[in-house]
């Protein structure tokens, strides 16, 4: 997951680890590009320093990576932003923990 808010990263990681997932976290798009290594899903915040969600998605796809992306944002236009970057899904912050778990189950590749 990519988010510049350390508390959100910590709690989302705790939740997903408890669900049996592995989590790699990055605090901006640039760090995420460096760490990306065929993950089953990218949870992506949009407004971040250094490299934002749009920049990340562009370079991520340009480098041929295919992991599905779920946008997580506190902005009102979560859905439109997800469409803009061609993301598979979106989660509007604040989200219910069930919605987070459901989104990961639904969009992550290599499961089922």
């Amino acid at each position: 997951m990519v988010d510049d808010d350390p508390s959100i990263v910590a709690v989302v990681s705790d939740i997903l680890i408890a669900e049996g997932h592995e989590v790699v976290s990055a605090e901006n798009g640039a760090e995420a590009l460096m760490k990306a290594n065929g993950e089953a899903l990218v949870l992506l915040d949009m407004r971040m320093p250094v490299l934002d969600g749009w920049g990340f998605a562009r370079e991520f796809r340009a480098s041929g990576k295919r992991s599905p992306i779920v946008v997580m944002t506190a902005a009102e236009n979560a859905r439109r932003w997800a469409e803009e970057i061609g993301a598979e899904g979106y989660l509007a912050k604040p989200f219910e923990i069930d919605a987070l778990i459901a989104a990961v189950e639904r969009y992550a590749t290599g499961r089922h």
Partner: protein
């Protein structure tokens, strides 16, 4: 006066005025003159009406601009409030689920601490928003009383909100004026907090207070990251944050300096900043020492 010509200036069935022409010598007006005056009156009506329309358009535009700013403000505020809320909601639900499924598991201390921290952050954001809103209604500054700025600065420097950093207050003598002590204290605390937040741990933060020609001068100086030249003109605007600010490390809504500026200006004073990126910043507050009101 021999004769007089009058033509009504009217537009859209509304009488706006009258155009009058006088003559006191021969020859008196002809039929052509009457047509000319009518024509001029009609032209005047067109000009007056278009001016009224332009004024109306400007009013509508100003109104729309104010509505747009308000909408931007609310949407920026909502975004910033949702960030701590996201942690609060998810963390609380996670703890609830854990308590239900594993009642004997030890308490998740980091999770609980996260709730406390984000709750505090949310409450600070709400206070900041309320201040910004009161400021716009001109209701932020309350009762004024004689205040020694040097004593106030020493009080502020002793508060424990600066990560244990030492704050130096430099002044020769008391500098007394009529101020709202709570709000001026808030300005000093905010400037010192910023200085601490954006400078290395061991570096000095200094408040220098002096007076000259009936004005009090407060300088708050740090040796921190400074402000890029491009950000200086907007640094006191609401929701503006320096482009070199890592907002992961430095939480904030970009309202602090906007509120400081408002408090100082409502005291009849002014704020400014001198800064070089990488070399530190000096925020300068000037306050009148005698009350003008």
């Amino acid at each position: 006066m021999r004769s007089l010509l009058i033509a009504p200036i009217s537009a859209a069935n509304q009488r706006l005025g009258a155009l009058e022409a006088y003559t006191d010598h021969q020859p008196v007006f002809s039929e052509d003159d009457l047509d000319l005056v009518r024509l001029l009156a009609d032209q005047a009506a067109v000009i007056l009406e278009s001016r009224a329309l332009i004024d109306e358009a400007a009013r509508v535009q100003a109104h729309e601009e104010a509505a747009r700013l308000k909408e931007d403000f609310i949407s920026a505020a909502a975004h910033d409030l949702k960030t701590p809320l996201t942690t609060l909601v998810a963390q609380a639900q996670f703890l609830e689920r854990r308590a239900e499924t594993q009642p004997s598991a030890p308490a998740d201390l980091p999770g609980l601490q996260r709730i406390v921290r984000e709750g505090r952050r949310l409450s600070a954001l709400v206070l900041e928003l309320l201040d910004a809103s009161r400021l716009e209604q001109g209701k932020l500054v309350g009762e004024r009383e004689p205040v020694d700025l040097v004593e106030l600065a020493r009080d502020v420097a002793r508060r424990d909100s600066y990560e244990g950093r030492q704050i130096t207050v430099v002044a020769d003598a008391p500098v007394v004026g009529s101020y709202d002590p709570r709000r001026i204290g808030q300005v000093l605390e905010n400037l010192v907090e910023n200085a601490v937040k954006y400078s290395p741990e061991e570096s000095e933060v200094r408040i220098v207070i002096a007076h000259r020609n009936g004005e009090a001068f407060i300088d708050v100086t740090d040796r921190g990251i400074g402000i890029p030249a491009g950000d200086l003109p907007q640094i006191f605007q609401r929701f503006h944050r320096g482009t070199n600010v890592d907002d992961r490390r430095f939480a904030g809504m970009g309202l602090g300096l906007f509120i400081c500026k408002g408090i100082v200006e409502q005291h009849g004073g002014r704020v400014s900043v001198e800064s070089r990126e990488g070399a530190g910043s000096t925020f300068k507050v000037v306050l009148p020492m005698e009350t003008t009101r």
